[in-house]
Symmetry: C2
Subunit: 328 residues, 2 copies
């Protein structure tokens, strides 16, 4: 039995934490929105792999209550990276390891700085999952976690892999963490990006329109090119196969229904968007490597603009404006 703290128990953290708890591990959830509901009624998972209901869930409202654990799974949104150190820190003892189960670029660097790279792994969950009512999680499809250790420590990869597999979680140890991050970005950049730049839309709208679909594919090919350049620049021989990635990601997306990306959900709810980690940081990395990423950069600029419009920070023209001449 492994002691596990789940920090940031949204849909992803809640789902994987619940799987680990179901398998008998000592899982402790740091909760905010769902605290009272889970304390009262447990955690209910609807899943094509079998629904289940955890009635006795260890929950905490503050990180100090969690106690020291063997593994911290941090599934905060990247927009909350600024508070990750204080939320994760109290659970970390001399032998604690940390899995940053978060998307985007520029994640594990922070954990490595705070806690030492030797104990930090990253994980990318390719999973369709949405939160329902408090205490309810709808797992819709897929679920594989792609893993890598910050320093490529293969024994830690094996240990983490075994832990997740003990809970019947599908895993793959990536050639390295950088590879895993770019592979996941190859889906997130086109689909999160277009889901917001397109006005808050689901994946079926993107793959069903010729222009948006072509834009998604073009963005995906740019991500692979940037990722491969990043791998090469960092001495890795691993490469993403562009055509294979495109074929696989579109095949997966075709069967998702009108899936709502996490960024579209945040957009509709008025939450902060993970635009820095998922769009802006990869664009910066690509430009620093001299890789042309025009589609990615356009999506990044237009997602930021959509966010400003939504928050009332951009001047949008109105019918009333049109009755007046432009002022300088």
């Amino acid at each position: 039995m492994t002691r596990i703290a789940v920090i940031g128990a949204g849909a992803v953290g809640g789902y994987y934490g619940a799987r680990l708890a179901q398998a008998g591990h000592d899982v402790r959830f740091l909760l905010r929105r769902d605290l009272d509901a889970v304390r009262a009624n447990g955690l209910r998972i609807f899943s094509p792999d079998g629904d289940f209901h955890l009635t006795d869930v260890t929950v905490a409202a503050s990180p100090a209550e969690l106690g020291e654990v063997d593994w911290v799974i941090c599934s905060l949104k990247t927009t909350a990276l600024g508070s990750a150190q204080e939320l994760v820190g109290p659970s970390v003892g001399p032998n604690t390891r940390i899995l940053a189960l978060m998307n985007g670029l520029g994640v594990e660097e922070h954990f490595a700085e705070w806690f030492g790279a030797e104990r930090v792994s990253g994980g990318m969950a390719f999973v369709c999952i949405n939160r329902g009512e408090p205490g309810v999680i709808h797992h819709l499809d897929y679920g594989r976690i792609s893993l890598g250790h910050a320093l490529d420590d293969q024994s830690q990869n094996a240990e983490l892999d075994a832990l997740l597999r003990s809970a019947n979680i599908d895993t793959v140890v990536a050639p390295n963490l950088r590879y895993a991050r770019w592979e996941k970005l190859s889906w997130n950049i086109p689909f999160n990006g277009l889901s917001v730049a397109g006005g808050g839309i689901g994946t079926a709208t993107i793959v069903g329109d010729a222009g948006l679909r072509a834009t998604a594919e073009r963005a995906m090919r740019e991500v692979v090119a940037a990722g491969n350049a990043d791998l090469a620049a960092n001495g890795s021989a691993a490469r993403l196969d562009e055509d294979e990635v495109v074929a696989r990601m579109f095949a997966l997306t075709e069967t998702m229904g009108d899936y709502r990306t996490s960024m579209a959900i945040d957009y509709v709810l008025g939450n902060e968007l993970e635009a820095e980690a998922i769009l802006a940081n990869p664009v910066r990395r690509a430009l620093a490597l001299g890789v042309a990423v025009p589609t990615m950069a356009t999506l990044s600029a237009l997602v930021a603009q959509a966010d400003r419009v939504r928050r009332g920070l951009a001047r949008v023209l109105t019918r009333e404006d049109l009755t007046r001449p432009t002022t300088k």
Copy 2:
């Protein structure tokens, strides 16, 4: 005194027609929205080049009333190209010439087919202009018309140039019409495109944001590359100078204030957008020529998507959707 019919007397047609009438030409305006107002109160132009008021304006509600003329200036929106033949036709006699004062690609081909290429010219107005109340036009800045004949007939270029200059209209005879169209597109594609894809915004918002500005510049460079390939493919030795175009267009845009592009105005008013002529046709032409135009293509797809969202034709996610799991 030249007999001139202005077909599609929006801001652009109204302004240039009024200048020609002011110079003493026999100008007849085919009007719709502004018919009663202009018949009652004339046409009032506010302009940095001098305000003026035409009190006695020849207006018509139907093309048959216009009579045969020496020059037809067709300044319909490209979205009305389908009705241009029947609106222009009644004014065309054996010696009538036609100026298509319209943006985008795929314009004069239609007029040439209907009326014969030998009498067709194209003009691109680089002008900041907005309609005000019915019968009122606000000329804000610039005003040069760049000209070219469909078959490169230099005597017709000279004749049209002289006609426009007789009304103190600033003109330039372009190396050829194709060159003039692409040069104008180098502004229209980035700024019309981003003004709609960015949520209905003015030019100051675009040039004032680093991400949008970089996107505009990237799109502009793609337009120039596509235009130069199109010129080469059609046996023209003329070339747009990429850096010169970028420097000039941004310098012009910097001094426009928060100018509202025609596409942003159409977007805000719920009118049909000139997305085919200004975005989709140039993207198709570029792709047919093998020129990579990822930024242009992304803007084209996202403008079409913004248009669908505005017209209720795209499924946009709502807060209510988020309480239900994705359905397949």
